[in-house]
């Protein structure tokens, strides 16, 4: 049996063992041995790929201690786990984050576009990395096979694509089998974790074995190794320059940002406290591996012929030392390194592709909205397709031959790609002001520069048009050459050049973009939830306008998680809340709970979109909502109050002004009236007094004069009485006592009496009275005497004020529907415009400038009387002369009362 056949057999046997372990790990849900911090730490060791296993020796041979940077960066990050890793861990577990893309997009307002950019970026970076692993495994086969003829291992410069193809197929099979069994990522990959933990152990044992062989089998102990080291690898202070710093930063970023590292460190984590163990155990793992690399590199250079491929020292050195058993173990170690990386990467990337690229597309498609799609099936199928796609991409990358460079340099390209997520990640964790625009700009610009200065130059090396571009710059712009952007020369160190520009522009774009606009409420909410994850227990989400029933949500959930799991979630929640119904009450807490559970399957952005479409509502932090509502309410209340108060004041002021005007008018009217009344009273009183004095003083007055004087005194007394009657009348009408009993009366009869009473007066004044009377019999509610008084008042008023040369008073009565109307018009000068409003007022003298006897109470009394009768007395507007209209409601004549009412 040749070494090659043996290796093939060992590989197949080992693969079968992995399948068995994965199967056992997956069975029965949660095996206890899997939930240990040791397994967790070993699974993180997926960081050490075949690049570490084979490539670190190569790197140590070529560049001395520089290879340590790749392990020192993660060491620093893990030793400082309290600051960074614990925070990411807490958020990831709390929100059921499924990937690095999900994490970043969650923070930036659950944005689809952020997630998609991260996914595409990491996918691009992963393709060469996966190609590298396949290449390393295929090459290790060839090296073992050809070891007897070619101990240098350089025969395998071009990988055997047949082997590479079958390796790829095997990896796809394993990943699909154990990586896409169910959908919920959080409870998902026990089998895979178990397998990669075993692989991590194999890696460690194999490399330690080879290292021990180098020290004690090949050399005579550590002394000889170090003696040779000083001779072979020269150390000067030069290697601890910019590149040293840059690589430590880069590897530190990669341990967090690489999709597979995020997957094993945070997503697959069972218990937060496992991190406390991994904090020192994982650096220790790296320490041991790195320690073993050094003697292998040194002794490989010593015993292997000149021109040997240092990337294969791990395999060729044991063979050269005659230990095929250790070579076989080393082969399995390399196999483990490669496969574990590919498997975890594929799982992480396929989750990202299906959650952040395919799912959002499907969500927008018409079919899903119709509600017919089975999301669970959709996710599983898309993830399987994505796994095949990623592996095919890796294989194709391998075929292009772009992996010709050393293992380490290709790995670093992937690192630099993943590191573009770092600014957005740090902004997500420590800067509340970072928002979606900044994240998108940063990721996009950083990714573009990385692709232009590092990824494409590697991929397109040797392609004619690219080489021209690389040499002269695009369109002859030498300033934009991908190897020396803006003229920055870095001694052909493309990695440092790319890293500097991409991270600088990335971070700047993140800051500038974030500062360019205010964060939206959802961004502010997520920022607070991320940045203050420890201090703030996280505001509970409150939804407005909830419109989904438990049944609708269940329908949604079962399409994503399957009926059994969805039912379990609903029932458990209902039981935990002590609800008696089958399904829990749909409140905000339950929707938030469900959204998080769904996020574990489809990512935060998609889960949110689905919940939103089901509930038709918007999520916003309760605190935020209350704060906004408070502010708004306070502001609105204040504004409304100010408006109301100013309105009130304005109205009150207008009322006051009107009241004041009225008071002034009334005061003036009262003064006028009083002066008039005093004058009216004084005149007869004066004459009465003077005539009584004459009568008393001159006893010898002749009878004729005495009689005349007594007559005058009598007349004046009558005038005084009339005046006082008038004032009394006013008071009586005002108090309303006289009109308490209203009876049906004939108004025409009242008019007759009035016209008769005025006949004498009009005759004396030379005024003609023209009457046009209705023929119909009519009755109104009222008091005959009072109504007569009103008619007399108005007619005599007309007679008094008509100054026309040919004065005529027209009296007209008619029936208008249910109304009895009397119009009394004169052809005098009319009522001045200013007095039309006050003419019926109590103290109004009316028609100022015209002196007439009477206290000026007539119209006021008339108006009050008609008012009591339920009718109206008004001055018709716009007429020549004064026209008064009296309007009374006519009533049916009671059958029994007959004409007797006439006398009423």
């Amino acid at each position: 049996m040749t070494l090659r056949e043996l290796a093939l057999l060992a590989a197949i046997g080992f693969a079968l063992l992995l399948f068995l372990i994965a199967f056992l790990g997956d069975r029965g849900g949660r095996p206890r041995w899997l939930a240990s911090p040791l397994v967790y730490t070993l699974s993180i060791s997926v960081y050490c790929t075949s690049w570490t296993f084979y490539g670190a020796v190569g790197s140590a041979t070529r560049n001395g201690l520089e290879y340590l940077t790749i392990y020192l960066g993660p060491t620093l990050v893990f030793v400082g786990f309290w600051t960074l890793l614990r925070k990411i861990m807490r958020i990831t577990r709390r929100d059921n984050i499924t990937s690095i893309a999900d994490f970043v997009s969650s923070r930036y307002g659950k944005s689809d576009s952020v997630a998609a950019i991260v996914t595409i970026l990491t996918l691009l970076a992963a393709a060469p990395y996966i190609a590298l692993q396949i290449k390393a495994i295929a090459t290790s086969f060839q090296v073992l096979g050809a070891a007897s003829e070619d101990p240098t291992g350089s025969a395998a410069a071009t990988p055997d694509f047949v082997i590479a193809f079958w390796i790829t197929v095997g990896l796809a099979l394993f990943t699909i089998l154990f990586g896409t069994r169910r959908v919920d990522v959080r409870e998902r990959h026990f089998g895979v974790v178990a397998a990669i933990a075993v692989e991590a152990l194999v890696k460690l044992i194999a490399l330690v074995a080879v290292g021990l062989l180098a020290v004690y089998g090949v050399a005579d102990g550590p002394g000889e190794v170090f003696a040779r080291m000083t001779a072979s690898t020269a150390h000067s202070g030069d290697e601890f320059g910019m590149r040293w710093v840059g690589l430590i930063v880069l590897s530190g970023a990669a341990i967090v940002c690489l999709p597979r590292q995020f997957q094993v460190s945070f997503v697959e984590n069972e218990n937060e406290t496992h991190l406390f163990t991994a904090a020192w155990l994982f650096p220790l793992y790296l320490f041991v591996l790195s320690l073993c690399v050094l003697p292998i590199a040194i002794m490989g250079q010593t015993i292997l012929p000149e021109g040997s491929n240092p990337d294969m020292f791990v395999l060729t050195m044991p063979i050269a030392a005659g230990r095929t058993d250790i070579a076989l173990l080393a082969f399995l170690g390399g196999f483990s390194s490669g496969t574990s990386m590919v498997i975890v990467s594929c799982i992480a990337l396929s989750t990202m592709i299906s959650n952040h690229i395919l799912m959002p597309l499907a969500l927008r498609s018409h079919q899903w909205r119709e509600g017919s799609g089975d999301v669970q099936r959709f996710l599983l199928i898309t993830r399987r397709i994505a796994i095949c796609f990623i592996l095919a991409l890796g294989f194709l990358y391998l075929r292009t031959g772009a992996t010709g460079a050393g293992l380490a340099s290709i790995g670093l390209i992937a690192f630099a790609g993943a590191a573009q997520v770092l600014p957005a990640l740090l902004g997500a964790l420590y800067w509340e002001g970072a928002n979606r625009r900044g994240a998108i700009l940063g990721l996009f610009s950083g990714g573009m520069i990385w692709a232009y200065t590092l990824f494409l130059p590697n991929l397109l090396q040797g392609v004619a048009w690219w080489d021209t571009l690389a040499a002269d710059g695009p369109f002859g712009l030498t300033l934009l050459r991908p190897g020396a952007l803006f003229g920055l020369e870095t001694n052909d160190d493309a990695l440092m050049h790319a890293l500097f520009w991409s991270l600088l522009v990335n971070a700047f774009a993140l800051i500038a973009g974030s500062l360019s606009r205010l964060p939206t409420p959802i961004e502010r909410l997520q920022a607070a939830l991320f940045v203050r994850v420890f201090s703030d227990r996280g505001g509970s989400g409150a939804r407005r306008g909830r419109a989904a029933s438990a049944d609708q949500l269940f329908d949604l959930a079962q399409r994503i998680m399957g009926a059994d799991r969805a039912y379990g979630i609903f029932r458990n929640y209902a039981v935990s809340k002590n609800e008696t119904t089958e399904f829990p009450l749909v409140d905000d807490a339950f929707i938030a709970h469900l959204e998080r559970r769904m996020a574990a399957s489809v990512g935060a952005a998609s889960a949110r979109a689905m919940i939103l479409s089901a509930t038709g509502s918007e999520t916003i932090s309760l605190d935020e909502l209350v704060r906004i509502a408070d502010e708004t309410a306070r502001l609105m209340e204040y504004t409304a109050e100010v408006t109301r108060k100013s309105d009130e004041i304005e109205r009150a002021a207008a009322q006051l002004t009107a009241a004041n005007e009225r008071l002034k008018t009334l005061d003036r009217q009262k003064d006028e009236f009083l002066s008039h009344v005093s004058h009216e009273l004084r005149t007869p009183m004066t004459s009465i007094r003077s005539f009584t004095e004459i009568l008393a003083g001159t006893p010898d007055l002749d009878a004729g004069d005495r009689q005349r004087f007594i007559g005058i005194i009598n007349a004046e007394s009558i005038r005084l009485t009339a005046l006082l009657d008038e004032i009394l009348d006013m008071a009586v009408v005002e108090s309303g006592d006289a009109e308490r009993l209203l009876k049906p009366i004939d108004p025409e009869h009242a008019l007759d009496q009035a016209l008769d009473a005025c006949l004498g007066l009009s005759h004396t004044a030379g005024v003609r009275i023209v009457a046009a009377r209705t023929k119909q019999s009519v009755h109104v509610m009222g008091n005959l005497t009072r109504l007569t008084q009103v008619f007399i008042n108005i007619i005599s008023n007309g007679i008094k004020y008509d100054t026309n040369a040919d004065p005529v008073i027209r009296v007209e009565s008619r029936i208008d529907g249910a109304d009895y109307i009397v119009v009394i018009a004169d052809n005098g000068p009319g009522v001045p415009e200013a007095e039309t409003r006050t003419i019926f007022d109590k103290f109004s003298r009316g028609r100022a400038g015209i002196t007439a006897p009477g206290a000026g109470l007539g119209l006021a009394i008339s108006h009050a009387i008609i008012d009591r009768f339920g009718g109206t007395l008004r001055l018709l507007p716009g007429t020549t002369g004064a026209q008064f209209e009296i309007r009374l409601k006519s009533v049916a004549i009671p059958a029994d009362s007959g004409t007797s009412t006439v006398a009423g």
Partner: protein, 86 residues
Amino acid sequence: MADDGSSPISERQVSGRRARDLALIVPVLGVIALMPPLIGLFARPETGIFGIPLIVVYLFGLWLALILIAMVVASRLKRAIQPDDP
């Protein structure tokens, strides 16, 4: 225990706070020690300890020290976080 004026809980809290401070400062010290110019002091090919180049001793020694400190700090923090654990 009553007469020394401090309960075991407050002692543990103090210890937890010190561990937290240490957890913050150790990685920073690690970064400083691994970066130039400090590391340049040890990059002297001619100097060695028992035949091992100084820089190798320094790097791996520092690394091991970081691991040991992280181990102590992590176990203290774990105790501070989970006081009920035995």
